[in-house]
Symmetry: C2
Subunit: 174 residues, 2 copies
Amino acid sequence: VPTPPRTSIAAITAAGSEILETRGLQGLTMQAVAVAAGVRAPSLYKHVADRDALVGLVADAAALALAAHLAPEDNLAGLARALRSWATAHPHAYRLVFSGQGSPDVAAAAGAPVLAIARGLAGSADELAAARLVTAWATGFISMELAGAFQLGGDVEAAFDYALDRLTSALTAR
Amino acid sequence: VPTPPRTSIAAITAAGSEILETRGLQGLTMQAVAVAAGVRAPSLYKHVADRDALVGLVADAAALALAAHLAPEDNLAGLARALRSWATAHPHAYRLVFSGQGSPDVAAAAGAPVLAIARGLAGSADELAAARLVTAWATGFISMELAGAFQLGGDVEAAFDYALDRLTSALTAR
DNA sequence: ACCTGAACACCGTTCAAGT
DNA sequence: ACCTGAACACCGTTCAAGT
């Protein structure tokens, strides 16, 4: 006897996103997601291949949320600050987005605004290389900050602003 | 009846480092390390508090190995290329070093050469901020490369050299 | 003083049985 | 067609018992 589904990819992804937010990637277990979706763990395998696939769905959802948060920004400093504020508000989601566990297509779409801003600064010849410099710096800075890697003290805010200033002038096409 | 230890922190760390190299962080299980150290899993708890502590020891050993690999470099480009070559040769160890799971003291010691080079470029007033810019860029670039995040094609080598050139001129004290 | 087998709680995953 | 309990292999960790 055929039965209508009692859950869905969308519901599973939403449940997973909320669990990631509150309990981190380690807390994102099949059991926890199943309970939050109102179902038992084995049922999830009717909707996702395995835990890696579920983590990928959650990563993509986070990447889209991040992209929406970045969309209004149209200059390098604004974009970098928006990225950092989102990372501070959603540290687990931020780490997951940049861990490479999501779909490459979604990641590429989310990175598009950076390309546009890099083109405006560096010109279209250096667009891609400039975008990679900026993206690498921003993700590196923020992930080190989240990991507590800035142990030497000093002013982390000042280091962020210093880097933005130096990068802006370094990338501006001559 | 007292008994001499059949293993040691050093042996456990060495076994863990080799397992990390070949099987990754996921393969670094208490069971696998115990077998490699010639002992059973419960015995490890006489030497380390728990798996996190063991991972921390392996992270510190990797950070020291990385520091030794970077030590001969005395300019920004050489340092960055040496970091990247080590990361390519030891991807699991590289990720672990920058995951913040090791001891802050060891991480700070390993970062000292970057500070010296940054001081030479930017002057002592901006030394720390300049070092953070460079470190954030390099770790971000390499971790994105290891994660396969450079999906848009283009020349990754060229992007690395472009960034080195732009950063060097951006940091040089005026 | 250290090592061990046995046990516990947990995890991801499979599968026959239910509806 | 989907959901479930039961089971399996694995994991980290504890602990009483051995030497």
